[in-house]
């Protein structure tokens, strides 16, 4: 039961219920769609940049609590960050969910709030839910109108 409580932490439930930065954007610099065919989760990201920095980001879509909360927390975390900083965050986040537990426990100071997703590592089939938004973001930053899928 405690594993479930670790998965569905208050912060995650809160972001699922009241997602931050949800919506669309007409003048986005980058836009990308992500989907997880296994669950039917779909996500579209809209990103506005100032040079190398993300100034604004919105997301739209539907999904499980983990994927919605992950998208919401991601948008909060990366606003104002440079591409390089985002790249590091992405890698640390991945490490947190799938990497060696002892490494994951130490590394990733910069993850901050994103550490609430640590519980996902006990639920391997749900890792894709937590990483969908991040994969989509990387696709958005790499090229316009990209489309990614977790399969």
């Amino acid at each position: 039961m405690s594993e479930l409580m670790d998965l569905y932490q208050e912060v995650i439930l809160d972001h699922n219920k009241k997602p931050r930065n949800r919506g669309t954007m007409d003048d986005a610099d980058h836009e990308a769609k992500g989907d997880n065919p296994l669950c039917g989760d779909q996500l579209t990201l809209f990103v506005k940049m100032d040079g190398d920095r993300v100034t604004e980001i919105r997301f739209e879509g539907r999904g499980c609590a983990i994927s919605v909360a992950s998208a919401s927390l991601m948008t909060e975390t990366i606003t104002g960050k440079s591409q390089a900083e985002i790249g590091t965050l992405y890698e640390s986040f991945h490490e947190l969910l799938t990497g060696d537990p002892s490494v994951a426990a130490e590394a990733g100071e910069e993850l901050g709030k994103l550490r609430v997703f640590e519980g996902v590592r006990e639920f391997p089939v749900r890792v894709k839910c937590a990483t969908l938004a991040w994969h989509t973001l990387m696709a958005a930053l790499e090229g316009k109108d990209a489309s990614v899928t977790t399969e």
């Binding site: 479930l4 998965l7 569905y8 669950c39 039917g40 499980c64």
Partner: protein, 423 residues
């Protein structure tokens, strides 16, 4: 809600019902007796695949241990034994759906392959540019995609009969959509996503009245209903062993012999030929024409054993038991605020799809799993059904003969737990 009364064994009144000993049945299924995340397993994902009785496992092992060899080829002792057992399994499958002749039963990998076979042989032979193939909204992807591929190849049109809000085929509309151009129609006997039991006898009659042959997807029907292909009058009937408590990787297609006899082969290879030269090959008659290559010999034998197991039971008592679980679970779920059941047809099999408010099915599935309750969460390979109800996914509990009311109680407790967590 009522299930269809089985034709061969009408369900007796409650007080004459033989006692149904579910504990004795459970004892026959080894996989049921395990714990998952520290809780006893409640396996409620039977529509995806069912667990196997020891008798079916033993039959497969026995085949490998004692009389295994390739079939239809050797003159030696083991080959003869294996061929006899394989052909005996065919007769079991034949009797199971009451086909007139054993040549009408083709062993394949399962329902999906059965439908693909018909689409690419009969379909290619008869469906041309401007023709139509008629299906329904509630089909499993395996009864959509093969027809879509065929239609694309031939320049034909895939026509889809609608369903109503309860998840029932609109039969009047179905009849109207059977047109001059309809060359074949295919629909499911029982919906895996909604539990609906379709009025297949009536739909077959309507199609035949317009001269249209019918394929019935029986994957979800055979574990629960008494199926008689002669009485139904369908032209093809496809089903899988793994949902029928038998091994994976095997299934059967029933086809009317006069149709099978005029159909071209599906795949080329050994087993399906009479003679081969580089100029010309003469094909075997059915069913061998459609069984190219070494078949799943032990699987077919295991499937036969699973059928024996089922047929030794009082199927009317089994149907009554499953129906009791359906009614019990339906009432309990309906009593929970925010729970909505998707698929409320008049006649249903023991499948319940539901949503809890706007909580995603995957979260529900994960929480139930930690309670030891195995359900399916997703689109159930029936995305058009999900679209019809405007949902990305549902949670589905599906019951088999070995499930109990106590397991339903645990499902309900799990749903309460989900609501608590998501408050």
């Amino acid at each position: 809600m009522t299930t269809l009364e089985s034709s061969k064994h009408p369900r007796p009144a409650a007080d004459e019902r033989p006692p149904f000993d579910v504990e004795r049945i459970r004892a026959d299924f080894p996989a049921l007796h395990q714990t998952v995340h520290g809780k006893p397993l409640a396996y409620l994902d039977n529509a995806a695949s069912a667990q196997k009785p020891q008798a079916a496992l033993d039959a497969e092992t026995e085949c490998y241990r004692r009389f295994y060899s390739n079939v239809h080829r050797g003159v030696h002792y083991l080959s003869e034994k294996a061929t006899d057992a394989y052909e005996e399994a065919r007769r079991k499958v034949q009797r199971f759906v009451n086909a007139a002749r054993e040549e009408e039963m083709v062993f394949l990998r399962g329902t999906t392959e059965g439908i693909n076979l018909v689409a690419s042989t009969y379909g290619r032979q008869h469906v041309g540019a401007g023709d139509e193939v008629l299906i329904t909204t509630m089909e499993h992807h395996s009864n959509i995609v093969p027809w879509q591929l065929l239609c694309e190849e031939r320049g034909a049109r895939l026509v889809v009969a609608p369903i109503n809000d309860r998840g029932e085929v609109d039969v009047e509309e179905y009849e109207r959509l059977l047109s001059e151009r309809t060359r074949i129609t295919a629909f499911t006997h029982v919906s895996n996503a909604l539990g609906t039991i379709n009025p297949v006898a009536e739909m077959i009659r309507l199609a035949h009245a317009k001269g249209v042959p019918v394929l019935v997807d029986g994957a979800q029907a055979v574990p629960h209903l008494d199926v008689d292909v002669q009485e139904l009058g369908c032209d093809f009937y496809a089903f899988s062993s793994h949902k029928l408590f038998g091994p994976t990787g095997v299934g059967a297609l029933y086809g009317r012999l006069d149709l099978l006899a005029t159909m071209p082969p599906y795949q080329g290879g050994g087993e399906m030929i009479r003679s081969v030269t580089f100029e010309k090959t003469e094909f075997s008659p059915p069913p061998n024409r459609f069984e190219a290559g070494t078949p799943n010999i032990a699987g077919a034998i295991g499937m036969g054993a699973a059928i024996d197991y089922l047929q030794a039971l009082d199927m009317s008592a089994v149907a009554a038991h499953e129906h009791d679980l359906l009614d019990y679970a339906t009432a309990a779920l309906e009593a929970i605020p925010e729970v909505r059941i998707i698929g409320t047809a008049e006649t249903k099999a023991s499948v319940i799809s539901f949503v809890i408010g706007d909580i995603h099915a995957h979260d529900v599935g994960t929480i139930l799993d930690r309670e030891g309750v195995a359900v399916r969460a997703g689109h159930h390979c029936a995305q058009p059904v999900m679209d019809r109800f405007g949902l990305p996914a549902t949670t589905r509990a599906s019951f088999a003969l070995y499930n109990t009311r106590e397991e339903v109680d645990r499902l309900i407790a799990g749903v309460e737990r989900v609501r608590e967590l998501f408050g």
